[in-house]
């Protein structure tokens, strides 16, 4: 039995005339934090979106726990335990922080609709149990002071934390974080990194897309470097940073 949680084989995506991802191969080991890096337009988010089921690859396969998932739709992939966050802040703006996380946890409830409408006793006890878990998630992410605040009224850093909280509530096995540190100041970055490390310590596997190189170096055990849709290097962050091809890709991208 392979220790690979996720395997990506010959993954290719074409949008019209543009080849966004070209014959990509990599795998994620259970329990690791894998970083997906590369200059803008390298295809990182496209890969992300394909794993998450937002669109199908043009060719190639994605295998998760032995099952081929590249043709599944998003909700089914999420039900299997792959939960993603979004690059642009995506929340249920008009609902409170607590409600946001409740929605995230819904699939683990197995509530019946009838029970929900008429507030039957089994539903109420299930909801009570979930409430405890939600409280612990919110505390874990440092959001306990904001239970009743509307999501749209949170500061940017808190919003990004809420997004992660929602993802955690969905009980992920593989967590896909799309630029979780975006727009954060130094202190917020440090706090988020601590969170991510703590999440890994709970046994979850993480795939991370991120531009902040210091952050990537500090928490990722392994990184994959993409450029123009192709993998140009793979390995520990320190090793990869020395690779002249990688350096050139980033410098070239800066123009």
């Amino acid at each position: 039995m392979s220790m690979n949680l996720l395997e990506v084989a010959h993954l290719t995506k074409r949008f019209g005339g543009i080849l966004a991802v070209n014959d990509l191969n990599f795998s994620i080991t259970k329990g690791e934090i894998l970083g997906l890096i590369g200059p803008n337009g390298a295809g990182k988010t496209t890969v992300f979106n394909m794993i998450a089921g937002m669109f199908r690859p043009t060719s190639g396969e994605i295998t998760y726990m032995g099952e081929k998932i590249h043709r599944f739709k998003t909700s089914r992939i999420a039900q299997l335990g792959i939960i993603r966050t979004f690059q642009l802040t995506n929340l249920f703006g008009d609902m409170t922080v607590k409600q946001n996380v409740i929605v995230g946890s819904h699939q683990n409830l197995g509530i019946s609709i009838w029970g929900s409408i008429f507030n039957t006793s089994p539903t109420r006890s299930k909801e009570g149990r979930i409430d405890k878990e939600i409280d612990s998630i919110l505390t874990f992410m440092g959001l306990s002071d904001y239970y009743d605040m509307l999501a749209k009224n949170l500061t940017h850093g808190l919003q990004r934390r809420l997004a992660v909280a929602i993802a955690l509530a969905a009980e992920p096995i593989l967590l896909l974080l799309d630029e979780p540190l975006q727009g954060m100041n130094h202190q917020e970055v440090k706090e988020m990194l601590d969170c991510i490390t703590a999440i890994k310590q709970q046994g979850k596997t993480i795939l991370l897309v991120e531009h902040n190189m210091k952050a990537v170096t500090s928490i990722c055990e392994k990184v994959i470097v993409l450029n123009f849709g192709e993998k140009i290097d793979e390995g520990s962050p320190q090793k990869v940073m020395q690779n002249p091809k990688v350096i050139e890709a980033y410098l070239g991208g800066e123009e």
Partner: protein
């Protein structure tokens, strides 16, 4: 958001009790006629609200009301079954047909549902007007639809032939409708509906099948539309295809939007307010009335999208902010 309704609940209960004892103050049939129509429209507006709550606009909502109306009328008049059987059947037929449509179209993003319901509405209107005229009555429709009656032999017998009696029947059903809507709204199911309408992508990413819930919401909404239709048919006694055409959906959209989409009592408020306004004031303006409805819809959507129901909340919000400044 969860604590406030207590006060509003009391207000609404007070209004309701007042309405309950209305026949003590007046026996004028005309007044009860209007109240009955308002009640039917409230049920319909609530059904429309359910579908708006999942982020979709059902242009065939009145068509489903019409399906409920025709089925109910035909079951009573052709199959000689009582209203009390016809009405639930009508609701179920409406809900089932909407399930089929929902299943076909809600799986797609974009405007498929909107377009399809438009198509469906026209198709049904054409079918009812021109085909199977022996059954549906064609353009003139069905007439002499009987009022319901209820009798337990030996105990009592009610014929809902007077408007006052029908008024109480409708009041009970409006209460039931509001009760169900409220239960859904406060339940986790309601929360999931709202989540899907606020960010479908986020909802899907947590494993929610947006399509499944949208179809469910659609079925619930159309079921209640069928209820409204059945009541309408047996109250007014005459139904024509034109009564349930797409144009008929405009006013209810206005009611819901003005009252407040997404809230339980918004449609109630909007329907009552606009229908009263229309009957007692705007009717005199003839064509201008429809123009005014359109303008109201645009204005509210543009400047007060949460509807009239949000006024108390906003007022107390502003009041709170003002008093903090002192």
């Amino acid at each position: 958001m969860i604590k406030k309704p207590k006060i509003i609940d009391i207000v609404y209960w007070a209004i309701f009790i007042g309405l309950f004892f209305l026949p003590l103050f007046t026996k004028e049939s005309y007044i009860f006629h209007i109240f009955c129509l308002i009640g039917i429209n409230i049920i319909f507006a609530c059904s429309l609200n359910t579908i708006l709550n999942i982020g979709e606009l059902n242009l065939a909502q009145t068509t489903f009301m019409g399906i409920g109306a025709y089925i109910s009328a035909l079951i009573v008049m052709r199959l000689a079954l009582p209203f009390w059987i016809a009405m639930p059947i009508a609701m179920m037929v409406s809900a089932t047909i909407s399930l089929a449509i929902g299943f076909l179209t809600l799986r797609f993003k974009g405007a498929y549902f909107l377009l399809f319901t438009f198509l469906f509405a026209e198709l049904v209107r054409v079918l009812l007007s021109n085909f199977w005229i022996g059954l549906f009555g064609g353009v003139p429709g069905l007439t002499n639809i009987p009022r319901p009656s209820m009798s337990i032999p030996g105990l009592f017998s009610i014929k809902f032939s007077s408007n006052i009696e029908f008024y109480y029947l409708i009041m009970i059903l409006v209460l039931v409708t509001i009760f169900v809507m409220r239960r859904i709204d406060m339940s986790r199911l309601g929360l999931l509906f709202k989540a899907i309408s606020q960010s479908e992508s986020l909802a899907e990413s947590t494993g929610l099948s947006a399509m499944k819930f949208k179809i469910l919401g659609c079925a619930i909404g159309c079921g209640f539309a069928g209820l409204a239709g059945s009541l309408y048919a047996h109250f007014v006694g005459i139904i024509t295809p034109h009564d349930f055409s797409i144009h008929a959906v405009l006013a209810p959209v206005a009611y819901v939007v003005v009252g407040g989409m997404g809230s339980v009592y918004g449609p109630v408020l909007g329907t009552t307010f606009l229908m009263a306004l229309s009957h007692f004031y705007l009717r005199q303006f003839g064509l201008y009335e429809l123009l005014i409805y359109g303008v109201i819809i645009i204005m509210i959507i543009r400047f007060m999208p949460e509807g009239l129901i949000s006024i108390p909340r906003n007022v107390s919000h502003w009041y709170g902010r003002l008093s903090k400044k002192e």
